[in-house]
């Protein structure tokens, strides 16, 4: 009797069931290679596991001890401070520059758009492994291009790799990372139908009104997605910070982003559990901010 009922239900909803099955492979893939390692990391963060030594094998569950240590850790808060500055400025710059580049590629009356697009794509087209070398040639205090230019204008030379290192990091990260915004926003601008502006002009809309009533609502969603993905990448990626730091934190902590701090804790001081706890804190920050942004996007 029951089986018959189930059979009937399947027959009635066959279409929906087939449709739902289509998501399964993708979800399985994302689940296996993103969620399982993430859950595993969260589990590590509640243990006193070390990378090498006795604790590597005989580790034990220690509850929230890593998190308590973390809250009382002065260095954690210093690195949090650096991270907030770095992420905020990077986010603004990456977004603004990407947006300007997208405007030049699509809407502006400037000639030679294909050439402009090719130039703006260059930073992301060269291999990522070359970025550090390109930028060391630029920022090196004695022979670097930037100081040579400053010197030829009679301006004081800066110690880009030491004193102004956070600024240098932001400069590099912006240079390497604005292209994603550019590609996404260029397509968003391009997909706004011309007729909308013509209609707006017929009704005598001003420049600002055209932006407020036509452009903004149509690009709002890609815009939010850009901000989410940029923020995730900035807080996650420490390649450039690592290139100015190395295997142990700098004494002045100016390059110690949270992710780099977690890396140093896990792979330099071998406190894997603590490193994973910092990683989980980063994950929570990303999670909360993303949800907030999505919430605002819908308003």
């Amino acid at each position: 009797m029951k089986i018959l009922k189930i059979k009937a239900w399947i027959r009635d909803n066959l279409d929906q069931i087939v449709l739902s099955l289509l998501i399964v492979p993708a979800l399985a893939l994302i689940f296996t290679f993103q969620f399982i390692p993430a859950a595993w990391t969260i589990w590590f963060s509640f243990t006193d596991m070390a990378l090498i030594g006795k604790k590597a094998l005989n580790w034990s569950f220690i509850g929230f001890k890593n998190y308590l240590d973390l809250i009382t850790d002065v260095y954690f808060w210093r690195s949090m401070n650096v991270t907030i500055q770095y992420c905020a400025v990077s986010l603004v710059l990456r977004f603004t520059i990407g947006m300007l580049a997208a405007l030049f590629m699509t809407l502006s009356k400037v000639k030679g758009k294909i050439f402009i697009a090719a130039v703006f794509l260059l930073p992301s087209a060269i291999p990522g492994i070359m970025h550090p070398y390109v930028w060391i040639s630029m920022l090196e205090p004695n022979y670097g291009t930037l100081n040579t230019i400053l010197g030829s204008f009679g301006l004081p030379r800066q110690s880009w790799t030491y004193g102004a290192v956070t600024e240098s990091l932001i400069m590099i990260n912006t240079w390497a990372g604005y292209t994603f915004t550019m590609i996404l926003m260029a397509s968003a601008f391009k997909s706004i139908p011309r007729e909308y502006y013509e209609v707006a002009e017929v009704y005598g809309a001003s420049r600002w009104q055209k932006f407020r009533k036509v452009t903004f609502p149509l690009i709002k969603f890609p815009l939010i997605l850009c901000l989410i993905l940029i923020f995730k990448e900035d807080i996650d990626d420490f390649t450039y910070a690592y290139m100015f730091t190395g295997e142990s934190p700098r004494p002045d902590f100016k390059t110690e982003l949270l992710s780099l701090y977690a890396y140093h804790k896990a792979f330099h001081y071998y406190e894997l559990g603590f490193g994973c706890a910092v990683g989980f804190i980063i994950a929570i920050i990303v999670f909360v901010l993303t949800l907030l942004q999505l919430k605002f996007a819908r308003l």
Binding site: L22, V110, G128, L146, Y242
Partner: protein, 295 residues
């Protein structure tokens, strides 16, 4: 002449545009000057300098697979193998991502159920854990599955990272497709699946092109995942290969052995993606993003 003076006298939006554009171009291009200069300089140095002589030897050295700077290379060179490996990884990534993103994007676009927005958000957030913190678990998981030193395995892991964004993009394309189209196909006797293959997919061609292009780039540029999972040198993709030959200890910022060929290779490496972008420009301009549905 008078028109130029007039333009300077009355700053217009056009003038402002040119000023901003030139500033941006200087910012983008100045660091790259060194790369271009070094790739043709007879005497390459790590800093920008005026070349003593121009040569294309570095490009020839890279293209002819000639052993580079006899004896300095930290590892053996398998240039052609590496290019093949990279092509295998990015090709497989494209196939996996296009297939799965198309299926799930279509399904998410047509299904109506409670918690769909939550599912979409979860998909977007799937990469929320920093990659660094996942190195060890990912390695352990992949060792269990036999993905170490396995190019297809690498492609699968890389796909799982790029899939969420691509699902969002493709769902946007499906959302824009009128439902009448498939309903007509059903009336003509197609079932759900064959309607997808015969009617729906041909109509989201540009979307598939965008997804294919983006996933190709993510496979071609993959660095961290191969770094964790590949141990044998002849299985390196090209990105890791460059690092291992020209730079000691891939993943660490070490010493470049020979700047000339490295820069020549970097210049060559940049050509295909820019060419592809310009070729596909009109298609790539059509990215449509999914939006969460307001109830």
């Amino acid at each position: 002449m008078s028109s130029v003076l007039k333009k300077i006298g009355e700053p217009s939006y056009t003038l402002l545009e040119y000023v901003v554009l030139i500033t941006l171009m200087i910012y983008v291009l100045t660091p790259l000057l060194w790369l271009l200069e070094t790739s043709v300089n007879t005497d390459p140095t790590p800093y920008l300098s005026i070349p003593k002589g121009i040569t294309i030897d570095h490009f020839i050295a890279v293209l002819t697979n000639r052993p580079i700077t006899g004896g300095y290379a930290a590892h053996p060179v398998y240039m052609t193998r590496w290019i093949m490996n990279s092509l295998i990884i990015s090709g497989t990534t494209v196939i996996i991502v296009v297939m799965l993103a198309a299926l799930s994007g279509y399904s998410l676009s047509r299904l109506r159920f409670k918690g769909k927005n939550l599912l979409m958000t979860l998909i977007l957030l799937s990469g929320f854990m920093p990659r660094m913190a996942m190195i060890l678990p990912l390695f352990k998981l992949c060792r269990t599955l036999g993905f170490v030193d396995n190019l297809i395995g690498i492609a699968i892991v890389v796909s799982s990272g790029t899939l969420p964004t691509q699902i969002w993009i493709l769902k946007g394309f499906f959302d824009q497709l009128p439902r009448d189209l498939e309903e007509q196909a059903w009336i003509c006797g197609c079932d759900r699946i064959s309607a997808v293959f015969r009617v729906i997919l041909p109509n989201v061609g540009p979307g598939l092109a965008v997804v294919a292009f983006m996933s190709f780039l993510s496979g071609w540029g993959a660095f961290t995942v191969p770094l964790i999972l590949i141990r044998r040198e002849y299985l390196f993709p090209i990105s890791l290969g460059i690092a291992s030959v020209f730079i000691h200890n891939p993943g660490e910022i070490g010493l470049v052995v020979d700047y000339g060929p490295t820069c020549a290779l970097a210049v060559l490496y940049a050509v295909p993606s820019i060419a592809l972008y310009i070729l596909l420009r009109e298609r790539l301009m059509e990215i449509r993003l999914a939006r969460l549905e307001v109830r």
